[in-house]
Subunit: 419 residues, 2 copies
C-alpha cells in the first residue's frame, strides 16, 4: 500500500515555513504500514494542483493533501479539487451553523468569507474539523482516494486522529501496526546496539522491527510489529515483555516511554514519594530549571534553582568556600559538591542537583577542556559527584549536561543510596 503527500504552500516554496506536516503524516502512515512514495510541495495554483494530483494518482492509490483551504481568494484548492473530481460546491447548513457558533464563542464577527468555508463538494465525504473552519474532504475516484486538509498543523492532525486514519484503515484494509517507544539516556546509539545485540536479534527473529532514533543526549528505541488476524493482544504482550526485558538489562539508561520527558519522569518519582528537589546550576545556566518548570504541576516538588554564574554568587547564595574556588577552580568536585549541599540547605529540599563545567567555546584548558562537566547530587544523607567529558558545542554541552544530570538523579533516587 503506497501513498503520496502533496503540500500546498507558497510560504514553504520561499522558505518562510518549514514543512513539518509531511514528516508527521509520513510517520503516522509508516506506523500503519502505508509507504510514502513521494512528498511534493507545490504552489496554490489550479494547474499545479491538477497536474500534481494526476501524477500522484498515476503512481499510488492514496494522496494526502494539506494547505490551500483558507477563506481568502488566493486559496484555490477546494475549487480546483471540486472540478477535478467532477462535483459541485453546495452549502452545508450544519457546518455553516457550526462555524457561526465557533466565531460567536470567540466573540469574533462572522463574515461572508467565513460562511464560504461551509460550501463543500457534494460528492466528497466531510472529515470534520473541530479546531478551525476549513473542513477535511475525502474524495474517491476509481478506487483511489484523495484527502484534502487545512495546513494548520493542529487542525490537520485533529482531522486525521478524529476519524481520518480510521476511515483510511477501513477503506484500504491496512494491517494495523503496533508500536511502542522506549526512551534511553546516557549511552550512544552504537554502544547501546552492541550491549543489546542478542536482545535485538531475538526481537527481529520474532518478526518485530526496531528503529534507533537519536537526538542530543537521548536515544529513542521504537519497536513495531504487525497485528494481523486479530492477534493484537498477543503482539502487545510480546512487545511489553521485550520492553520489560530491556528495562531489566539496562535500567540505568531506560528512563521512560512514548512522549515522556526525563524531567517529567523525575517529577513523578519525587511527587510519588513526597520528596522535594532543588538545583544549583553553573554551566547549565538555568536549563535544568527550565526543563523541570516546563512541566505543569512541577511546583509541587521543585523548589527552585540557584543559577550561580559568578563565583561571588556561588559563595554568597550557596555558601561555597572561597578557598575551594581559589585552589581547585569553579569546575571541580569540591565546588560542585558544595553547590549541591548549599542549594539543598537554602531551598530546604530533600535532594539537590548541581552542575559546574566548561560549556565553551572559550574557557577550556589542557586540564579542563571544553565539555568537562562536574555534576553532584546531594541526598538526605550523602552527596555524590561525577565528572563527564562531552566535548561538543556550547548548546550541545548545555543540553547533554542537563539530561545526564537528570538521569543520574533518577538512578540515585531509585537506588535510595543517598537516604
Amino acid at each position: 500500500m503506497n501513498a503520496e503527500v502533496i503540500t500546498i504552500g507558497d510560504e514553504i516554496l520561499i522558505g518562510q515555513t518549514v514543512d513539518t506536516n509531511s514528516a508527521w503524516i509520513a510517520e503516522e502512515l509508516h506506523l500503519r504500514g502505508i509507504r510514502l512514495n513521494r512528498i511534493i510541495t507545490i504552489s496554490d495554483a489550479p494547474d499545479e494542483i491538477t497536474q500534481a494530483v494526476d501524477e500522484s494518482f498515476s503512481r499510488v492509490d492514496l494522496v494526502l493533501m494539506t494547505g490551500g483551504l483558507g477563506p481568502t481568494q488566493d486559496d484555490v484548492t477546494k475549487y480546483t479539487l471540486a472540478e477535478y473530481f467532477n462535483t459541485e460546491l453546495v452549502m452545508n447548513e450544519s457546518i455553516r451553523s457550526e462555524i457561526e457558533s465557533w466565531f460567536k464563542s470567540r466573540g469574533r464577527p462572522f463574515l461572508e468569507s467565513n460562511s464560504k468555508q461551509a460550501e463543500l463538494p457534494k460528492d466528497a465525504d466531510i472529515l470534520r474539523n473541530s479546531r478551525g473552519t476549513a473542513q477535511g474532504m475525502w474524495f474517491e475516484k476509481d478506487g483511489k482516494v484523495l484527502i484534502s486538509m487545512p495546513g494548520v498543523p493542529y487542525e490537520m492532525k485533529g482531522i486525521l486522529r478524529d476519524g481520518g486514519f480510521e476511515k483510511l484503515e477501513q477503506f484500504f484494509k491496512t494491517t494495523p501496526i503496533i508500536h511502542k517507544t522506549v526512551l534511553t539516556q546516557g549511552i550512544g546509539e552504537s554502544f547501546l546496539a552492541k550491549k543489546i545485540s542478542d536482545w535485538e536479534t531475538s526481537l527481529r527473529d520474532d518478526g518485530y522491527f526496531l528503529a534507533y532514533l537519536p537526538s542530543p543526549g537521548l536515544v529513542r528505541l521504537r519497536i513495531s510489529g504487525y497485528a494481523e488476524n486479530g492477534n493484537a493482544e498477543k503482539v502487545e504482550a510480546e512487545i511489553a515483555e521485550y520492553i520489560a526485558e530491556l528495562e531489566r538489562r539496562v535500567p540505568e539508561y531506560v528512563f521512560g516511554r512514548g512522549k515522556e520527558t526525563i524531567a517529567q519522569v523525575v517529577g513523578k518519582l519525587f511527587q510519588e514519594k513526597g520528596k522535594t528537589l532543588s538545583a544549583a546550576e553553573s554551566c547549565t545556566g538555568g536549563y535544568i530549571a527550565h526543563l523541570i518548570t516546563s512541566i505543569p504541576g512541577s511546583s509541587l516538588h521543585f523548589m527552585g534553582s540557584a543559577v550561580t554564574y559568578s563565583n561571588d554568587a556561588k559563595q554568597e547564595i550557596l555558601g561555597v568556600k572561597k578557598e575551594s574556588i581559589e585552589s581547585d577552580g569553579a569546575v571541580s568536585e569540591d565546588v560542585v559538591v558544595q553547590m549541591a549541599e548549599g542549594a539543598q540547605k537554602k531551598f530546604q529540599s530533600d535532594y539537590a542537583i548541581s552542575t559546574s563545567g566548561v560549556a565553551g567555546p572559550d574557557g577550556g584548558s589542557d586540564e579542563k577542556p571544553v565539555g568537562t562537566i562536574w555534576v553532584a547530587i546531594a541526598g538526605p544523607k550523602k552527596t555524590v559527584a561525577k565528572k563527564y567529558n562531552f566535548g561538543g558545542s556550547r548548546s550541545r554541552n548545555i543540553t547533554i549536561s542537563a539530561l545526564t544530570a537528570l538521569n543520574w538523579l533518577r538512578n540515585e533516587f531509585l537506588s535510595r543510596e543517598l537516604e
Copy 2:
C-alpha cells in the same frame, strides 16, 4: 528564473527526519531572485532519481539535490547521476588525499569505502566540501544545471556558501537581491503593520518588498530590494535609511537585526557600559537565565538567576517579606519588586530583572487568570514593575514573558531612568 529541489531520503519518507534543508535552500534562492517551483522528496533508488530529474528538467532549468551521497552501498545517487549525465566516475587524487588527512586528523581509520568518496564524475565540476567526505557536484546538460550535495545540513550549507551560490549567480546571471532583517518585540504583526502603514507604503512605492515573519513573542521584518545595474550601494543606502526611520518611529519595539537574539543585544549593551545583571525568576522558571547563558561570553555581565519556585525560597534567598506573599499573593507588584531588589542585592549586580506569574494550565483565578505575569526591573536608583496578560499555553507564556522582560530591560537600560 525557476528551480526545483529534490531531496533524497528514506528517513524523510518514513517521518524519522524533518526535511529542513529544503526550507533553507528555498529561502536562500528566494533571496537571490530564484523562484522554487516544487520541492520533491523521493527515495534513494535509481529509477526514482532518474524519473524525478527528468520531470524537473521538463519544468525548470535548475535542480538542487540533497542526500544519497553516503559511502554505503544503499547510496546510489552518485552512480545514477553519472549515468544520467553520460559520464564516468574517476578517482580524484587530490580529493582522495584530502579525505585521507581528514580521517587522520580525527584519529579514525581510513577505509576502502571512504576512498570511494573520492571517485567523482569526470564531466562534473566539483564543489568542494571542507566539512565532510561527500563532495558537491555540478552537472550541466543543454544549458540546464543540477547540483548534487550531501544531506547533512551544515555540509550542504557550507558547499553552497563556499562557492555554490556564486557559481549559480554567475551561470544564470541572476539579479542580486539585497535583504535586511529587523527584529521587533512587544507588538503583534497586525498592530505593527497598522502603526507603520505609511512607512510600508512608501517602502513599497520605492520598489522594495516587505515580509512579516512572526514567531511567539517576536516579529521579524524582512526588507528586500533588487540590486540591478550596479546600483547595489544605492539600494543598501536606501534600505538602511528605511531601517533608521523605523528605529526612530518605534524604538521600543526594534531591538536588533539579522540573526541577533534579544539576550545577545542586552548582553552587548551591558558589557559596553560595564554593567552587570542578575535575575529572579518564578513563572519563567530559569528560561531567562537559559536565554542569557546560551550566549558565549555571557559570564562577563550575567551574575546569575535565583529561580525561586517556592514561596519559602522567595523569602529565604531573595528576602521577600512573608506578609507580602500572604496579603497580595506571589503574583503581585509588591512581591515581584522585592524579588528584583533581592536578586540585585544577593548577586551584587547593577540591574536585576524578575518575573512572577501564572504560566498555566492550572493556578489561574478570576482575578489572576492564566497568562497574568508581573515583571520588575531594579536599577541602580529605582525599581519599576509592570503587569502583562498573555493568556496562552504554558510554553507560550514562558517564552513570551522572558522575551518581553528582556526587551523591557533593554528599553529601561537605554533610557537610563533607573540610574
